[in-house]
């Protein structure tokens, strides 16, 4: 049904377009058809290249897939292979566009929508209660990281770039902002693998990342405002900047507070649709609407998207929305990173290589100092401070979005965009080994601070089965059982048998490794998990005994493929029965795959 709707919608767009072109809609129409054809071809190459190189980075080089997607963009973009003319197109596939954005506006439009999806989901994933619980430490550390990163980034531009003469120069402001935004996705994954996500350092990093995101976005709002004034020739006096900052902060705080107040009502209203696809689409529509409004209000689009996500993050819709938006996210995010990669001009990088290296080194140093010093002041020892600093190193999508907005507004050039990409690549490649090294050794808290913040004791429950197939089947049963107990089950990555299972304060992870299933939870919930597993295994035993009591396989196969049914007209009837069996098998699947 969904396919039918999608096909009808596609026809509704394509058919009039073709008809308009054929009916002699003029050169405009044929030009439009040509542009859309190029867009479709570009998207095809972008999607395949991004996924392919991303996969290569992830599995071959053991790096984050997004770095591969970014590299794919650099490789196929208008500054590299994309500029090679193709006879079939009478020109290159990715022609270099004049103006600040080197790719076609249509393709750039996809990247902008992707950035809205990214920030909407980032807002939805924001764990405000955790942040509030650790808000003092988290805020101090996040704030330290943002201030030092912004100051060093801005200062690097003033002292090293000849055309930048003041700390308020848009280029300096954008470079300062580019340096601030941490992306803790990589950190979270490494800490999860090493069971350190619930450690005092892990929790503090995640809380600090929340304030980091929020401050980064407010900073971006201010910087966009100041650059617009600068561009119009207006003076950038302190008073004026104060007004812009107050306006940006005001918009942010008012919309967030209103969002958090009204989101539960909105969630209840959306629930009335009963069909979750309608709820999810309306929620995403609201994110797009607020993104547009915030751009119109003189801020950046991502701010509206982030605020919408943040507001809905505390409602019961958050988890379902995240799950529902996952395919959209998986589709758009590689496009975003790939298109961002296309905007980096490696040839121009030669001229700013020295600046790029200094800027990157400062960006790394800034997080180590900016987050490390407040960590030292709030109960961590040097080891703990280094861990937190290393955890805050990776830069990600917000860095690129800020740089992209700077590029589109003309505040920074392609060379500085390249510097932002370089910072992201280097910081993200350095961070994982640095983090793994940092987390070796003893406790990260000072002795006096340690007793009040003991790490929760985690228990592993390991179950070994005779084959991966049996483990896979039992995993599906366990997941069904947790759902029946009203737990929310979330598969962390598609095609990976790794799940997060939670309800209220109980958090369990379930990981299938070949023929073993490992369940991990805090010691106080261990008994519940053991009991649930035991009950499920007893039920399965019962089930298997029932199957054994069924007719023997020989008589079953006779019934299915009996002589009289194999020949003549009987075959048609039999195939209908066969279909029934297949359907029953596939109906078992979703529990396991979801």
């Amino acid at each position: 049904m969904r396919r039918l709707v999608a096909a009808t919608a596609a026809l509704a767009v394509v058919v009039p377009l073709a008809a308009y072109a054929q009916s002699g809609g003029g050169e405009g129409a044929s030009e439009m058809t040509h542009r859309i054809t190029i867009l479709v071809l570009q998207l095809a190459v972008v999607i395949i290249a991004a996924r392919f190189v991303g996969h290569l980075f992830k599995h071959g080089l053991k790096q984050a897939a997004v770095l591969g997607e970014l590299a794919a963009g650099i490789l196929i973009g208008p500054y590299a292979l994309g500029s090679i003319p193709l006879p079939i197109l009478n020109g290159p596939l990715f022609p270099l566009e004049l103006g600040p954005i080197p790719v076609r506006p249509e393709l750039y439009g996809f990247a902008v929508v992707a950035s809205i999806v990214l920030l909407f989901v980032a807002g939805l994933e924001t764990d405000l209660p955790t942040f509030l619980r650790f808000s003092i430490k988290g805020s101090t550390i996040g704030l330290g990281g943002v201030i030092v990163s912004f100051a060093l980034g801005d200062a690097a531009a003033v002292f090293l770039l000849p055309n930048v003469d003041s700390f308020m120069h848009p280029e300096a402001l954008f470079l300062g902002t580019v340096s601030t935004a941490t992306s803790v996705g990589i950190t979270a994954r490494i800490l999860e693998e090493r069971h350190k996500l619930s450690s005092p350092e892990g929790v503090t990093i995640l809380a600090a990342a929340v304030i980091d995101d929020v401050l980064g976005i407010i900073l971006l709002a201010v910087v966009v405002g100041v650059s617009k004034v600068h561009k119009l020739g207006g003076g950038v006096e302190w008073g004026h900047i104060g007004v812009i900052a107050a306006k940006a902060f005001g918009f942010w705080i008012v919309s967030t507070v209103l969002g958090i107040i009204f989101a539960p009502k909105l969630a209840r209203g959306l629930r009335k649709f009963k069909a979750f696809e309608v709820t999810a689409s309306v929620a995403f529509g609201i994110a797009l609407f607020l993104a547009g409004l915030s751009e119109e209000a003189g801020l950046a689009m991502i701010i509206g998207a982030y605020v919408t996500g943040l507001s809905l993050s505390q409602t019961e819709l958050a988890n379902e929305l995240q799950e529902y938006l996952q395919p959209l996210y998986d589709f758009f995010v590689p496009i975003f990173f790939c298109v961002m990669g296309m905007m980096a001009n490696l040839a121009e990088m030669g001229q700013v290589l020295f600046f790029g290296l200094v800027f990157t080194a400062l960006a790394i140093l800034a997080k180590l100092i900016g987050c490390g010093l407040p960590a030292l002041a709030t109960g961590f020892n040097i080891r703990g401070a280094l861990r937190i600093g290393a955890g805050m190193l990776p830069r990600g999508e917000v860095t690129l979005i800020v740089a992209g907005i700077g590029l589109a507004s003309g505040a920074i050039g392609h060379d500085m965009f390249g510097v932002a990409v370089m910072t992201l690549l280097v910081a993200s490649v350095i961070a994982p080994p640095a983090l793994i090294r940092a987390f070796e050794g003893g406790a990260g808290l000072r002795v006096a601070a340690a007793p009040e913040r003991r790490e929760p004791e985690l228990k592993d429950i390991v179950l070994n089965f005779s084959s991966p197939r049996i483990a896979e089947f039992i995993r599906g049963q366990f997941i069904r059982s947790f759902r029946k107990e009203e737990f929310f089950v979330h598969q962390l990555e598609l095609h990976q048998p790794f799940y997060q299972i939670w309800k209220e304060e109980i958090l369990i992870t379930l990981d299938q490794k070949e023929s073993s299933i490992v369940l991990q939870t805090e010691a106080q919930y261990e008994q519940f998990v053991r009991l649930l597993v035991l009950e499920e295994i007893l039920e399965l035993k019962d089930f298997l005994e029932t199957i054994e009591g069924e007719e023997s396989p020989v008589s079953l196969s006779k019934e299915l493929f009996g002589k009289e049914k194999l020949g003549g007209e009987q075959v048609g009837n039999e195939s209908a029965e066969g279909d029934g069996i297949r359907k029953e098998e596939s109906s078992e699947e979703p529990d396991d795959v979801r």
Partner: protein
């Protein structure tokens, strides 16, 4: 989970009769029947005994959690009983069982059933709490100990 939602004074006994496993289970079932929420005693007993047959629900520290799934209830029902002298319930740790929590839950309905059992048995990992329960004289006292 709010234990008071499931357990009330009327389903708590501080002096369960019976000296054998089956007798204690019968006594617990008698309590559950007083709620009026179990439609068929025989079917309910069958579900409890079936589960006991697969593996004893006498877990550890003198606590047993006989439970079953059956269509003769519409929602989770539970009762609580104490048999101070202790009886042989084939417990996994070989100890005599003194504290019993029996639950019945519907077969194909979602709900925090195992979680209820786990939470209440988790409470009983506290030795001090167990001692207090064994010394309790009235259902009110038991409820207070369980919910504080």
């Amino acid at each position: 989970m709010n234990l008071r939602k499931v357990l009330s004074k009327s389903v708590i006994s501080c002096d369960l009769p019976g000296t054998r496993k089956n007798e204690v289970i019968e006594a617990l079932m008698d309590i559950l029947m007083t709620t009026g929420k179990v439609r068929d005693r025989e079917a309910a007993m069958r579900s409890i005994l079936d589960r006991e047959q697969k593996m004893s629900t006498g877990i550890q520290n003198g606590v047993a959690i006989p439970h079953g799934k059956t269509d003769v209830v519409d929602d989770l029902v539970a009762c609580f009983g104490i048999r101070k002298e202790g009886i042989d319930f084939d417990a996994l740790d070989g100890e005599k069982s003194r504290i019993f929590i029996m639950t019945l839950s519907p077969v194909n309905r979602s709900g925090p059933h195992v979680q209820f059992l786990a939470e209440i048995s988790q409470l009983l990992t506290d030795a001090e709490k167990r001692e207090k329960l064994l010394g309790a004289g009235t259902p009110e006292e038991v409820l207070d100990i369980l919910t504080t």
